[in-house]
């Protein structure tokens, strides 16, 4: 339910008002940037601080804010007052629903064909594997956040548990990936329950901060427990995945895949195998999620998200419901983690910082919380987008050779996160397919579904 809008939207009209707004914004920008950008400090070799001024940069930033606010104001007037319901012609709407109903199968067929199309382009395969890892993480977190409505800011902890389980078991005991994968899932689920127990009574933001703290604790323990985890240096030399124990991807082994199948030696086989492995894990996650939503436990999750008190009055055991949600979500995180360890061949606590949790949560929310297709699209946009920013070399030609696009990658990522939230707070997919319905199955707008109180 929307609270009545209290703020009086001032609709600036006319050129003088427009210029006035732009001038005020430019003035604010001047104050904001004059010290932080205008004066660059640096510690000299003797530990003494030195500084130099950069008035040109401040001037161009202020000019950019001035110009930007004029453009923004014009755009606002052109689009009309925000908040007004936009009428979509029925033809467009039916076209959209047509596209929507075929989007998932089309995406699936495309993902199945990616290694066939791009078999010799290592970079694209790597990127696709990365995106699929995040799709899997997003779908795993979706069980906790999207279905059960429990806000989890420390999901990366389970990813870390899965990764370190495989890394430690494989390097210390030489266990195969196919034994470690289920074990990693079980261990992560165990940690999920362990986290779940204390937080059962917590709600909303308290839950958020405790899960965040839990994620940080796991990371700090990984850094400091050097005897086992080798500290921040991490664990390297994690063995590759074998082809179900039948063939391997190490050239020196007698049962190397190229020797067994009598084909040419190539490192692309392992990439393609990894791709299908993570795709299989993703599909398993999707399948389990879809089936669970139709089972009593899945319905209980969604009921819990909508109204915890009503849930309890109807005799649903909220304790087990919450714990199963945490355990299921954590298990998928653990699977993804051991895949990550096998793919990288190296794990270190650096990979499991809060930023990762935030990225996964952003993917789930942008995907519309609960929509599997939406989350997959969001993962593609977010991860593909940030990876594309690595390739910003053409900007060097504009800003000169000193320009380092790497530095601006996370800045732009943060800005994109804010802008997307302002533009589509409900995520890319704004409707839900209910599993339980009366007479007619109908997609409902996600503004009618609750996000849960934890």
């Amino acid at each position: 339910m929307k609270a009545p809008s209290i703020n009086t939207a001032k609709t600036a009209s006319g050129i003088p008002a427009l210029l006035k707004t732009a001038c005020v914004n430019a003035l604010i920008a001047l104050v904001l940037f004059s010290l932080m950008v205008g004066v660059r400090t640096e510690a000299g070799s003797d530990g003494q601080l030195t500084y130099w001024t950069r008035f040109g940069e401040v001037a161009s930033l202020v000019a950019a804010v001035f110009g930007g606010s004029i453009v923004l104001e014009l755009l606002k007037q052109w689009i009309g007052p925000s908040g007004a319901e936009k009428l979509v012609p029925p033809a467009v709407r039916s076209g959209m629903s047509f596209v929507g109903s075929y989007l998932a199968p089309a995406l699936l067929i495309f993902t199945l064909l990616v290694p066939v199309i791009f078999y010799d382009q290592r970079y694209i395969l790597d990127l696709a594997i990365l995106v699929l890892t995040y799709v899997m993480l997003g779908w795993g977190l979706n069980v906790v956040v999207g279905l059960a409505g429990l806000l989890d800011l420390g999901y990366v902890a389970f990813y870390a548990v899965g990764a370190y389980s495989y890394a430690l078991l494989a390097t210390n005991f030489g266990w195969s990936f196919w034994i470690c994968l289920p074990l990693a899932g079980v261990l992560a689920a165990f940690w999920g329950v362990l986290l779940g127990f204390p937080v059962l009574r917590l709600r909303g933001d308290y839950l958020a901060i405790v899960t965040l703290a839990f994620g940080e604790i796991i990371r700090l323990v990984l850094i400091n427990w050097r005897e086992v985890t080798n500290g921040s240096a991490g664990i390297s030399g994690i063995p590759k995945v074998s082809f179900f124990g039948l063939m391997t991807f190490n050239v020196s082994d007698p049962n190397y895949i190229a020797k067994v199948l009598h084909i040419a030696t190539s490192s692309a086989y392992y990439k393609i195998f990894l791709y299908y492995l993570i795709l299989g894990l993703c599909l398993l996650t999707a399948f389990v999620t879809i089936r669970l939503r139709r089972l009593p436990v899945g319905r209980a999750w969604e009921a819990l998200r909508e109204d915890e008190i009503a849930c309890r009055s109807l005799g649903i055991n909220t304790t087990t419901t919450k714990l199963t949600a945490f355990a299921t979500g954590a298990m998928f995180g653990g699977f993804a983690g051991s895949f990550f360890a096998a793919r990288q061949g190296f794990v270190s606590p650096e990979s499991f910082v809060f930023l990762e949790s935030a990225i996964i949560l952003a993917i789930v929310v942008l995907g519309g919380m609960g929509s599997l297709v939406g989350i997959a699209v969001a993962a593609m946009v977010m991860i593909g987008g940030t990876e594309a920013l690595r390739e910003l070399d053409f900007l060097k030609q504009i800003f000169g050779p000193d320009f380092t696009p790497e530095l601006y990658r996370m800045l732009l990522f943060g800005m994109a996160m804010v802008i997307v939230m302002l533009w589509k707070p409900r995520g890319f997919v704004g409707s839900r397919e209910p599993t339980a319905f009366l007479k007619e199955r109908r997609a409902v707008s996600s503004s009618f579904t609750k996000e849960g109180h934890g």
Binding site: V37, P198, L220, M369, R426
Partner: protein, 305 residues
């Protein structure tokens, strides 16, 4: 015993800094009901502004330390407050009536923006400053030569915190703005109907929170003698932990939580291991929340059906 007393002093000083940041979290949470994830980075920006102002003043040839500090504190409070205001205006106000996760993610995005903005603008290296306030008092010297020190900078931090808290308490409990803030905290619609400018009040909340964070940034700079672009994250999480520990939404609770976190961290480092001090702080947070889900001074949240 002497060692204990020394650690108590250190813990209280650290706790004052956490408490100043925690007030910003708890105020915003009380009024808008959102976790302002960017607040830790506002604290970091405050530290940077203080450093830059300090550097500029010193290079003009000014040598009187009290004058420099006064100007630095005023400038960093003003500029950081403007940062707080701008962040609210851009990233939070449009999402105020949206669903709960939207402003939170927007805040997380804003936190990334601020961290990377200062990395781009000021470089990734740690910026050291020479000690500005030196000297101190020896409170007690034991037979085996252990000395309890109370340095001048520690006195400055604690005194500044107390003065600011006094001003702040007066602001919230005695002024028109404070009354508006408390009214908005209870019921925004009703407050608006009674003529309170809700938008302005919420903006002022962010401004005050950012100004207090700027002071905390300056104190951190003076106490530890360095700033870097990443210091906002850990300090922010600790301060938020402090706010939750004290009961989020409660102003005395924030200060109490800050002191508690500062003391826990210091004593843990002193008696157990430095590496696990953050683990200790977070574990105690979890333990407290298990037994007191609303924190030390928080009101229980009753949901009516």
């Amino acid at each position: 015993m002497d060692y204990f007393a020394q650690q108590l002093i250190n813990g209280l000083v650290l706790g004052s800094i956490y408490g100043l940041i925690a007030i910003g979290y708890t105020m915003v949470y009380g009024i808008v009901g959102m976790i302002n994830f960017a607040h830790g980075d506002v604290f970091m920006i405050g530290g940077f502004i203080a450093l830059i102002t300090f550097l500029l003043l010193v290079s003009t040839g000014l040598t009187a330390v009290p004058v420099i500090l006064l100007i630095v504190i005023l400038v960093s409070m003003a500029v950081t407050a403007l940062y707080g205001w701008t962040i609210e205006r851009i990233a939070y106000r449009p999402l105020r009536h949206s669903f709960r996760l939207a402003p939170m993610l927007s805040a997380i995005g804003m936190s990334f923006v601020l961290t990377n903005y200062s990395q781009v603008a000021q470089g990734a290296r740690v910026k050291p400053v020479p000690p500005v306030i030196t000297g101190g008092y020896t409170l007690h010297e034991s037979a085996d030569g252990f000395v309890i020190q109370l340095s001048n900078i520690q006195i400055v931090v604690v005194v500044t915190t107390i003065v600011l808290l006094a001003i702040f308490t007066w602001l919230v409990s005695r002024t028109r703005l404070g009354r508006d803030m408390r009214a908005c905290e209870q019921d925004q619609t009703m407050a608006a109907l009674l003529g309170v400018n809700v938008d302005r009040t919420i903006s002022m909340t962010f401004v005050i929170g950012a100004a207090l964070a700027a002071v905390a940034g300056l104190m951190y700079l003076l106490y530890y003698g360095l700033v870097d672009f990443f210091m906002g994250f850990v300090a922010g999480i600790k301060a938020f932990t402090a706010a939750v520990l004290g009961g989020i939404g409660s102003l005395p609770g924030a200060m109490l939580g800050g002191l508690a976190i500062g003391l826990i961290e210091t004593f843990w480092s002193a008696y157990f291991s430095v590496e696990y001090k953050d683990v200790a702080a977070f574990s105690i947070l979890i333990v407290v929340l298990i037994f007191m889900p609303t924190g030390l001074l928080g009101r229980p949240e009753v949901e009516k059906v």
